[in-house]
């Protein structure tokens, strides 16, 4: 059921994201002129317009530093928001998030193992793959431990998620202690979530996994919708519930793992973007997932802009910034949710 209002949401979000991308590439410790950025981007896209371009230094900053970082922020935000929307449908709780189900902690552990073993610098795709493996292992652990008794209750899943997160977090701490001191700072910063120093190779690595995963998840939108009705109803509609759930969780882990590998932990994005958009576009995947992608992308682009520019002296960790905004949002949503139920 598309209402006129929900049909406007996608173009509006796309426009806002485009504007956000340009503003975020222009702003920073070395501000670039807005018109110059637009002109240089259009020229790069093969649409040269008469506007004055940027200085050679400005061009270097734009294309080698700002643009990959901002695009990466959009990819990570979009990916995490889609993952959140999918997990919320699979677990039938509007407040489920990759962080709450151990996906983030598992991905972090996988990535730290890769860093610890020195694989991350040796093999190009090792870090995203290790993070994906960690995320998938966490999801499967949650799924099988909570579902061991036959039917998994939501409460059981969420509590198991907390336990799995704790174990993964503990293992991460142990590994950090065992890691050479000169690497620890990099790993710590990475765990706090951030996009400092990320370049085109990161964009490429993330784009492959995020686009492929999100595309497949959108294609599987209708089974996801059926699944969100509950296990019994989904099964009575002919859906192979277990296989569908495992497939969707694996794809979600793939995307979450790739995002965590390039940006570290960026909490609450997967909760906020879908939660804010669901009342507007409705819960059907073919509407919600694209909207969540754009909304999550915009959110992280703006959060990363804040991380770069809010403090004059140092960069704030991106994950800390989304947590500061996201945690109160989560608590407010939780209260509203409990008030209703």
């Amino acid at each position: 059921m598309t209402t006129p209002r929900s049909r406007l949401v996608l173009p509006l979000l796309a426009g806002a994201l485009l504007l956000g991308l340009v503003v975020a590439t222009a702003a920073g410790s070395v501000p670039l002129p807005f018109r110059g950025v637009v002109g240089a981007l259009l020229a790069k896209a093969g649409l040269p317009v008469g506007t004055p371009g940027l200085s050679p230094t400005g061009e270097t900053i734009l294309f080698a530093v700002r643009l990959p970082r901002v695009l990466l922020a959009a990819l990570v935000g979009g990916g995490l928001a889609v993952v959140g929307a999918v997990l919320q449908a699979v677990f039938r709780n509007p407040l489920a998030d990759s962080g709450l189900l151990g996906v983030g902690a598992g991905a972090a552990l996988g990535a730290v193992i890769a860093v610890h073993l020195g694989l991350a610098s040796a093999v190009f795709f090792a870090l995203p793959l290790a993070a994906f493996a960690g995320a998938l292992a966490a999801v499967l652990a949650v799924y099988f431990v909570a579902g061991a008794s036959g039917r998994a209750s939501l409460q059981g899943l969420l509590l198991t998620g907390i336990a799995v997160s704790a174990v993964a977090g503990a293992a991460t701490s142990v590994l950090l202690v065992a890691t050479e001191e000169f690497r620890v700072k990099a790993v710590l910063f990475w765990l706090a979530g951030g996009l400092e120093g990320r370049g085109w190779t990161h964009v490429q690595a993330a784009a492959v996994f995020v686009f492929a995963g999100v595309l497949l998840l959108v294609m599987l939108g209708r089974p996801l919708d059926v699944l969100s009705l509950g296990e019994d109803e989904a099964a009575s509609l002919g859906l192979p519930v277990r296989a569908t759930r495992l497939g969707l969780l694996s794809l979600a882990s793939l995307v979450a793992g790739a995002c965590t590998a390039v940006a570290g932990a960026v909490p609450f994005v997967g909760l906020m973007a879908p939660h804010a958009l669901r009342p507007v576009v409705g819960p059907l995947s073919r509407h919600l997932l694209p909207a969540a992608f754009l909304g999550g992308a915009l959110l992280v682009v703006l959060a990363d802009l804040g991380a770069r520019t809010l403090s004059g002296r140092f960069e704030l960790p991106l994950g800390a910034l989304t947590a500061i905004v996201g945690a109160p949002y989560f608590l407010a949503a939780l209260r509203a949710n409990e008030g209703r139920g």
């Binding site: 059921m1 919708d225 099964a235 859906l239 409705g282």
Partner: protein, 263 residues
């Protein structure tokens, strides 16, 4: 009823949960266009029976057959095009509209990738119409009363265009007006040959609606027959622990039942 084709049948079903036997040696049949009410006290195994009949639960022994073919031999989607289940406990997402909820009933016909066509939209509109909730099509589930949500679940089942409709307490949250509407809808659906098996809590309602009543008590079929035969049996009085009496009321086509203390 014996002259009509059997749509769905259970043969010596046994279901255990842990070490407790929930269903024991249950055999029954649902025929074309039949209204079959399953009654019984709480925890008698009625819902388990419905879940086993719907294929949601694998029986420990025995077999369920749909149109003569073992339920486990049916491909999932083909089965869901013939057999629909609606219970009173189902909840879609709060922000889902009634129209979208009912349209998901077309999943077995279209599968994951094909878009809905005109026939699907007609089936959805018909299901909304039959359940009397066309005016709620654009409303979200979270804004509905429990009874309205229940009608939306039933409409989803009708949108599947099944030959067998299984209902677990379809009238649980409905006021008397909506109850009558619901059972009228079921009668309308039966005119097209659909067999309806419903767990019904209200014995008077079961007697008024059903062609046949099955009494389930402690996991077994304690009595089976016309409403009069079953409700008038000592098995029924014993199962519920009450005295059940049927009264003839002029102009009423069926007996009116009253319930008193003590079997």
């Amino acid at each position: 009823m014996s002259g009509r084709e059997v749509l769905l049948s259970a043969h010596a079903l046994h279901v255990e949960r842990g070490r407790r036997r929930v269903l024991e040696d249950v055999t029954l049949a649902l025929h074309v266009a039949e209204a079959l009410a399953v009654v019984g006290p709480n925890a008698a195994g009625k819902s388990t029976l419905v879940r086993a009949l719907a294929g949601l639960l694998e029986p420990d022994a025995g077999e369920v057959r749909l149109r003569g073919r073992s339920l486990s031999d049916w491909p999932r989607d083909a089965r869901a095009r013939v057999l629909a289940l609606a219970t009173s406990e189902e909840e879609g997402p709060d922000t889902l509209t009634v129209g979208d909820r009912v349209a998901l009933g077309r999943y077995p016909h279209r599968g994951p990738f094909q878009p809905l066509n005109a026939a699907d939209e007609a089936a959805v509109a018909r299901a909304l119409e039959q359940t009397g909730i066309s005016h709620l099509e654009r409303r979200r589930l979270g804004t509905l009363s429990a009874g309205e949500r229940q009608l939306a679940t039933l409409a989803r089942g009708l949108a599947q265009e099944p030959q067998v409709l299984l209902l677990d307490e379809p009238a649980a949250h409905l006021d008397i007006g909506h109850q009558l509407q619901l059972f009228r809808t079921l009668d309308e659906v039966r005119q097209c040959g659909v067999g309806v098996l419903a767990v019904v809590h209200d014995l008077s309602r079961a007697a008024a609606w059903a062609d046949r009543v099955v009494l389930v008590a402690a996991g077994r079929i304690a009595a089976e027959g016309t409403p009069h035969e079953v409700l008038g049996s000592t098995a029924a009085s014993e199962a519920f622990g009450v005295r059940i009496r049927g009264h003839v009321i002029p102009d009423l086509p069926h007996l009116h039942y009253t319930f008193g203390d003590g079997a």
